[in-house]
């Protein structure tokens, strides 16, 4: 027994020693990696998590990750990618285990629901005197919440209509031009329909729900789902915006039958049997890569109150799990720097949020396409999102087939979506005056 006791006490001593050593290592690691220290870490490997829709997109971001060590030789970036849909599930799960990547993508729509996982960049922007003036100002607002900028934007763009030029030509329909109207849109869609072809894809590209952007265009009411800061989809403006879209399907029959097959909305247009869809400049890389026909771009048709569209985009932020925010910020400035965004633009993946890099997208897209985007940009506005964005999007998707087929009215659709989404409020960017006037960095 004495021997056993001696063995145990020695084990305990060894264990305590190991614990002390581990604690010392941890303390040392915390000391060297903390952002609040006097000598913040600005070297090492930075993890970066982002969504991609195709191998071509992944290659663009991998190229940009490799730019970081060229600017900061002590820094490197490891990129992890997943699909857009999975990304928003993965990120909070990683957050719950404190294992988020240092840098992560943030789309404007998710600022309200996952914005709290990101570190406000205000202090780093001030610390490094980083200038936001080269960026599109609407994107700075869309990626901010309560006066905190949560991500530096990499792209933006107005939501527009893309159309199959070959189908328009085959059906003898003239290409739509800027200034066209909703009545003309419907007329064109009808002419394009027939012989297995359809005029319009009734859902947003890559998604499964009706277009909030068109709802704005058709109702003339910005953010028709938010009123006085509160989530409210049962108001007449939202119902009107949905009703007219749904009529294209169940009344005019100019849309292909709705399908829940994965990737349907992305692939349906690529088949060449659909004339028009709602899209944005970020998709140019995939459109060029996957469509076997020429694609035209045009601003939204004018609704009863003129042309309205949203300016939408995304950025990269630093997550709250990042132990080396200073190093991450340095890497971040490269990822949204002139060279990186010029490359992303030149590959058609992003209409750069850094305005001086915009022309690279036009070079890849062609002058007509660039002109269409430039025209649309003049009328596009920031979109307000809600704190219950994920529930809202899920509810929109689930009930879309019912309203498109006329099984429920737009009013019922709005009521169902409201009930299923729960309560929420609009996300305000807040006062950004402390970081917006900065210049020089």
């Amino acid at each position: 027994m004495r021997k056993a006791t001696g063995y145990r006490s020695r084990s305990v001593r060894y264990g305590l020693g190991a614990l002390a050593a581990a604690a010392a290592v941890l303390v040392a690691a915390c000391g060297s990696g903390g952002s609040g220290g006097s000598n913040p870490t600005t070297s090492g490997n930075i993890s970066w998590s982002f969504w991609v829709g195709s191998p071509g997109e992944a290659a663009v971001w991998k190229h940009n990750a490799d730019l970081v060590p060229k600017t900061y030789p002590n820094l490197s970036v490891s990129l992890t990618t997943t699909s857009f849909t999975n990304y928003w599930t993965k990120l909070p799960i990683e957050a719950s285990t404190h294992s988020m990547s240092c840098i992560a993508g943030l789309q404007y729509g998710y600022v309200g629901s996952v914005g709290n996982l990101f570190m406000p960049l205000n202090s780093l922007i001030k610390k490094y005197n980083y200038s936001l003036s080269p960026f599109e100002s609407t994107m700075i607002k869309e990626l901010s919440s309560h006066g905190n900028l949560l991500a530096l934007p990499y792209d933006f763009g107005p939501v527009v209509v893309t159309y199959n030029k070959a189908l328009f030509q085959a059906k003898g329909v003239p290409d739509p031009q800027p200034g066209w109207t909703w009545a003309q849109f419907v007329q064109d869609a009808k002419k394009l329909t027939g012989g297995g072809d359809y005029g319009y894809l009734p859902v947003t590209l890559g998604g499964t729900s009706l277009s909030l952007e068109l709802a704005y265009d058709l109702s003339g009411t910005p953010d028709a789902y938010v009123q006085n800061g509160a989530f409210n989809v049962t108001n007449p403006a939202f119902v009107k915006g949905i009703q007219e879209q749904a009529e294209l399907s169940y009344q005019d029959h100019v849309t292909p039958p709705y399908s829940t097959a994965p990737g349907w909305s992305s692939q349906e247009f690529d088949t060449g049997k659909v004339g028009m869809e709602v899209n944005g400049p970020w998709d140019l890389i995939d459109i060029k890569g996957q469509s076997s026909f020429p694609v035209g771009w045009v601003e939204f048709p004018a609704g009863p109150d003129g042309v309205h569209s949203y300016n939408e985009g995304s950025g990269f932020g630093i997550t709250k799990d990042c132990k080396t925010p200073d190093a991450a910020f340095k890497a971040l400035t490269v990822l949204v720097g002139q060279e990186a965004l010029t490359y992303a633009g030149s590959q058609g993946r992003a209409f750069p949020a850094r305005l001086a890099a915009d022309s690279s997208w036009g070079t890849f897209a062609g002058s007509d396409t660039e002109a269409a985007i430039t025209t649309a940009l003049q009328k596009a506005e920031p979109q307000e999102v809600t704190t219950n964005w994920a529930q809202f999007q899920t509810a929109l998707s689930k009930d879309t087939p019912l309203v498109l087929s006329g099984q429920i009215s737009a009013q019922q659709y709005a009521q169902e979506v409201a009930a299923a989404s729960g309560s929420g409020s609009g996300v305000s960017p807040g006062d950004l005056s402390s970081i917006l006037p900065a210049s020089g960095g």
């Binding site: 599930t89 399908s259 689930k398 019912l402 009930a419």
Partner: protein, 320 residues
């Protein structure tokens, strides 16, 4: 036991067991217990780590307001249960699950039992039975996601089903985009996916029924159908009970098919409890609500399983 005891005693006498001399009470039970524990330890460890602890945690979390992404964890008692039970569409979702279970379980059993009878040992006229059994079993071992994606294409507007219906001037049926058809579509797919397991189970059971019983029945003038209902079914009833129970439990937990094919839509027409659990926990990040649904579902399964065990006393025939 006698022979085993004598072997052990002789090993002990020969000094092979390393035990003290005879005269003391043999310690076989202890060693047996240790051996059993050794074999069980792997399973027990896995069960504890991956089943027991998660279950306990789910129950624990269900009493908390537990936001997955940051925020303060707060004890809320039974609030999550009240919130889930009164949430929009919850009872519709419960009905969906009962609809699925009520249709899927009998269909699965009918199809699997019928095919087992056709491909079993009594049907000597059927050729290539082994091959057919493998073919019918293939969906069971095919990844569920892959199968679901395949069926999404089959159910498409221009998919195989609507094409075939079109040959007869019927359809097209909006398999996945109509609230009337979404759940039947998931049920059909699930039956295709799941009957193979029960079929193999039943074929194995039929193989164990002695031919002498059928021979005696034939001499007494019983035809194949009468033999099936009077001999095969009663003697197969323990396996049918097992198959029914397992099918019932898994059908309450249906998720992947609904997630891939319809994502619970249109509306809530094909949302299942596990899908709602997933949405609550991993889409809306309300881990407390998700855990409450998990506990409620486990409770439902427990009740149904208990009822099944009560019923088996009357319906299951054990040969002794």
């Amino acid at each position: 036991m006698t022979s085993r005891t004598s072997v052990l005693e002789s090993r002990s006498r020969a000094g092979l067991t390393g035990r003290p001399a005879p005269g003391r009470r043999p310690r076989r039970p202890n060693r047996d217990t240790r051996t059993a524990a050794g074999f069980l330890s792997f399973n027990l460890t896995g069960f504890t780590l991956f089943t027991l602890i998660p279950m306990a945690l789910a129950i624990y979390v269900s009493f908390f307001n537990w936001p997955l992404q940051g925020g303060q964890t707060r004890f809320v008692g039974l609030h999550n249960y009240g919130s889930v039970l009164s949430s929009y569409g919850f009872w519709r979702i419960v009905l969906n699950v009962l609809y699925f279970v009520g249709a899927y379980v009998p269909l699965n059993l009918i199809v699997s039992l019928t095919l087992a009878a056709l491909l079993g040992p009594r049907m000597r006229a059927v050729k290539g039975k082994a091959f057919l059994r493998v073919v019918f079993f293939l969906p069971v071992v095919t990844p569920l996601v892959a199968s679901s994606l395949l069926w999404a294409l089959i159910y498409n507007q221009n998919g195989i089903f609507n094409t075939v219906l079109g040959w007869f001037g019927l359809g097209p049926v909006p398999w996945l985009s109509s609230s009337d058809w979404s759940m039947p579509s998931i049920i059909i797919m699930s039956v295709w996916l799941g009957f193979g397991y029960n079929m193999i189970l039943f074929v194995a059971g039929m193989t164990n029924i002695p031919d002498t019983m059928y021979d005696a029945a034939s001499i007494d003038g019983a035809g194949p159908i009468r033999q099936f209902f009077r001999i095969t079914l009663p003697l197969l009833s323990p396996l049918i009970f097992f198959g029914t129970l397992m099918t019932l439990i898994t059908s309450f937990q249906v998720f992947t098919q609904a997630y891939i094919l319809t994502n619970g839509g249109p509306g809530n027409s094909s949302t299942t409890l596990v899908l709602q659990l997933y949405d609550d926990a991993f889409q809306y990040f309300r881990l407390g609500d998700g855990s409450a649904i998990a506990v409620l579902l486990a409770f439902m399964i427990l009740i149904v399983t208990g009822l099944m065990f009560i019923l088996q006393r009357r319906l299951v025939h054990y040969e002794h």
